[in-house]
């Protein structure tokens, strides 16, 4: 069927769009100023300063840290200080635009999700009919807490105490 063929091309195009920069060294841009550290932890020596807007090359990630190269200096910054793509979200959109070319949808701008050819657009959701059989299948796959605990132990995962995050300042100051 042609539609599913196109779906496939879209998906693989999209994956390529994401995969190529991952395999090669990925570009990013600093979305906030930060210290560039010699090693991936807070108290490590600061080797240089990262300035908002700097273009960086992403080398690798480790937990909350990202190793980057910026004007020939290497070092570690916080993951959330850098956004992927050469010029922030615009450039990131260009990267994803590769997928747009593959589907012939490049330049068409916003494609409204209600076309409903595939996926879960507004109409698909609205006209959805209760599917008892699938729901029962889903419910049958639910597991007991003990099974989940065994699974966690096998993966060397231990529960730990971590406090909830506070509402960020921007959220608090933004009235409703």
């Amino acid at each position: 069927m042609t539609i599913s063929k196109w779906m496939w091309i879209t998906l693989s195009g999209l994956l390529w769009g994401l995969a190529i920069p991952t395999l090669a060294q990925q570009q990013g841009v600093a979305v906030k100023s930060d210290d560039i550290k010699a090693e991936p932890f807070k108290d490590a020596k600061t080797v240089a300063a990262l300035n908002k807007g700097d273009s960086v090359t992403i080398l690798k990630k480790q937990g909350g840290w990202m190793e980057i190269k910026v004007s020939q200096r290497k070092g570690w910054v916080r993951v959330l200080s850098v956004r992927k793509g050469a010029g922030g979200s615009n450039a990131a959109a260009e990267i994803a635009g590769v997928a747009g070319v593959a589907t012939g949808r490049a330049g068409t701008g916003q494609v409204v999700s209600t076309t409903g050819v595939r996926g879960l657009g507004e109409e698909d959701l609205k006209s959805a009919k209760f599917n008892e059989e699938e729901l029962k299948k889903a419910e049958a796959a639910a597991i007991a807490p003990d099974q989940a605990k065994q699974f966690a132990a096998k993966g060397a995962l231990t529960a730990r105490q971590v406090n909830w995050l506070p509402t960020s300042k921007t959220v608090a100051s933004e009235g409703r």
Partner: protein, 299 residues
């Protein structure tokens, strides 16, 4: 002197009426403060005085106050069944089993560990995830395909579990019931012949096409990150997925509904960055389930 008194009265009035105008957000804030400091994980007992819940015709949820657990599950079940009517489960038992294990483990770290949590991956290329009241959580195959490890899956599921914990969708339904009562004063409601639960949730699974308010999404992000971290995963799974989605063009069909119903990933990331700051720096790095992440079979 008297001028002074008038000013004082005016100020007093301002202060006094402020909380009324903002009663909703104030209550949310207070609740948030309370929840943050509450160590115990307890499921509030459902209110016993709801005899009508079992009678289909009379089934309605209270427009204010707590909704009995039984009713919450009933509504969630209807929404989940409708969603599965739009997109069935991916036919891969190993995948469904895997997602239930990760999801159940993360949900155990929430404030509602005793719900009968049900997880599933649904068959669509759309990139999205859904939570229905009572503990039903679904992620699309399209979103699953963008994940790189179990920590990222835990982060995504954590965000959805947080919606259930905070009863975000339930509150939306409750608000619409309240509006409905207002409308009924003017016009007697026409019975469309659907089941009682269906009448409350509207048409099909349309509740997911309307979305929640932005603050509920930001809150679910903040809680989701912590749920994953409590479960022993890296706290950076969810942010990492958001960074990936941020790189998808907003004109791509696959993210149409996600972008329509959620704040842009870049905005979510900057809110998360503000909230996380250096707070999670001391967390031990995680192996994220030691590379056992379940790979999708080729279609």
């Amino acid at each position: 002197m008297s001028k002074n008194i008038i000013i004082r009265i005016a100020l007093l009035a301002l202060v006094a009426f402020q909380p009324i105008a903002n009663a909703d957000s104030l209550r949310d804030r207070l609740k948030e403060l309370r929840d943050r400091n509450r160590p115990a994980k307890q499921e509030p007992q459902p209110a016993p005085n709801n005899a009508s819940a079992s009678e289909e015709k009379e089934f309605k949820i209270p427009p204010i106050g707590p909704i009995p657990l039984e009713d919450e599950v009933r509504l969630g079940r209807q929404i989940a069944g409708n969603l599965l009517g739009a997109a069935p489960l991916v036919k891969d038992d190993m995948l469904q089993q895997y997602v239930n294990r990760v999801g159940r483990w993360v949900a155990l770290q929430s404030d509602r560990p005793d719900l009968k949590w049900t997880f599933g991956v649904i068959q669509t290329d759309d990139i999205n995830a859904f939570a229905a009241p009572g503990g039903y959580v679904f992620i699309t195959r399209g979103l699953y395909a963008t994940l790189k490890d179990e920590g990222e899956l835990a982060g995504v599921l954590g965000h959805e579990i947080a919606h259930v914990q905070q009863k975000h969708h339930l509150k939306v339904l409750q608000k619409s019931q309240l509006l409905d009562m207002g409308a009924n004063i003017l016009k007697k409601r026409v019975d469309k012949g659907g089941s009682a639960a269906q009448r409350i949730i509207g048409s099909g699974a349309e509740i997911f096409s309307r979305g929640l308010d932005k603050d509920a999404e930001f809150e679910a992000d903040r809680l989701g990150v912590i749920l994953a971290a409590r479960a022993g995963y890296d706290a950076w799974g969810l942010p990492s997925v958001l960074q990936e989605i941020s790189a998808v063009s907003s004109s791509d069909n696959a993210v149409g509904m996600l972008f329509k119903t959620h704040p842009h990933p870049d905005e979510r990331l900057s809110r998360l960055a503000d909230a996380m700051g250096e707070r999670l720096d001391s967390l031990k790095t995680s192996d994220n389930g030691k590379g056992r992440f379940y790979k999708l079979a080729a279609k």
